[in-house]
């Protein structure tokens, strides 16, 4: 793998938090769930808030540009649309960036974090089927020569309403 092209992790500890307007906060607090499922959803939100559709679209555009809103869309209950697992590895510290870049290069890997633990690299593999998830884990084990601890979700206790801003 070309180390030059290895994506370094984001250095965001010192990034400033963008200022949010009252409209931004309302959009973030009220539309993380229950986003209108009707033909003109932004017009419906505008109606709720007594502002123009254009203002709603502009505010959302800005929140997306700022990286605060990743996207607008459905979040699926785990293991309904596809399969996923959480995997953990112990990686020697001097190899962690290289190993992480191998793992991140798989399109099935959608989260990949270094954590403070002897098992120091944690990643989530998501695919259409359990077979595809297992095949990806096997491939990663082969590419890295490291043991993977596979920790699939067995039960969810969480009711997903999005993230409450304090």
């Amino acid at each position: 793998m070309d180390m030059e092209k290895t994506r370094l992790p984001e250095r965001d500890a010192h990034e400033e938090v963008p200022r949010l307007s009252a409209l931004d906060k309302r959009l973030l607090n009220e539309y993380q769930h229950g986003f209108p499922l009707i033909q003109e959803p932004y017009a419906a939100i505008a109606g709720e808030m007594n502002i123009s559709e254009d203002d709603v679209l502009k505010a959302l555009e800005r929140l997306k540009t700022l990286g605060i809103v990743n996207r607008i869309g459905p979040v699926f209950r785990p293991h309904t649309v596809g399969w996923s697992t959480l995997a953990a590895m112990h990686v020697p510290q001097e190899r962690i960036e290289y190993i992480a870049s191998i793992i991140s290069s798989h399109p099935q890997v959608n989260h990949n974090y270094e954590r403070e633990h002897e098992l120091n690299l944690w990643f989530v593999v998501t695919a259409l089927s359990e077979e595809e998830v297992n095949a990806t884990l096997n491939e990663i084990a082969e590419q890295t020569g490291l043991e993977i601890i596979d920790l699939p979700m067995l039960e969810s206790f969480h009711i997903d309403l999005g993230f409450a801003l304090s």
């Binding site: 965001d12 003109e40 607008i72 869309g73 699926f76 209950r77 954590r115």
Partner: protein, 176 residues
């Protein structure tokens, strides 16, 4: 079979999110080769059947200043797991709460929750609130703070070979 090929086609078309325009579902319908009404009726059906947990803005905690995140793991006696799992999920700062398998001897924990906070100290305090309120002082736990984020993006469900064998022109993979 919980969802059919048409649902999958729709899910793939939605992967990059709803566009910001007057009729976003109409736009998605074009990408998924469906009638606009079909998109809405399928999304409504998936909500009703609990396949869709929620539909709306997907927010990036980090950019909002919630920069400390910890995976808190617990070794809970199996009999108490469901009760404690539901109780833990109810704390507003707990963003996920799952049962996962123990992998002995290396991994003794069976309950995982995720806490996002503005600082490490705040997250540590929140862990202690859980311990206190649920009476978990004697339950072994570990707190795994995140150090570096190498990758984070939406789940990617597009099959390399779609069910109908052809790639619609607009069905591009999400940039990662």
């Amino acid at each position: 079979m919980m969802i059919d090929d048409q649902d999958r086609q729709l899910i793939a078309a939605l992967e990059g999110g709803l566009p910001l325009c007057k009729d976003p579902y109409g736009e998605i319908a074009k990408r998924a080769f469906m009638k606009p009404g079909e998109v809405l009726s399928r999304l409504n059906a998936m909500c009703e059947r609990g396949i869709i947990n929620r539909h709306g803005l997907i927010v990036h905690h980090h950019r909002l200043g919630y920069r400390s995140n910890a995976m808190v793991v617990w070794d809970i006696p199996d009999k108490k797991l469901a009760t404690l799992g539901h109780a833990m999920a109810a704390f507003p700062f707990v963003t996920l709460c799952y049962r996962r398998p123990r992998r002995l001897p290396v991994w003794p924990y069976n309950l995982f929750c995720m806490i996002h906070g503005k600082s490490r100290v705040q997250v540590e305090e929140q862990v202690l609130i859980i311990v206190e309120k649920l009476g978990l002082k004697d339950i072994p736990r570990d707190v795994l703070f995140s150090r570096r984020r190498f990758k984070q993006c939406g789940a990617h469900y597009v099959s390399e070979t779609p069910p109908n064998g052809k790639h619609p022109p607009l069905l591009e993979k999400q940039a990662v």
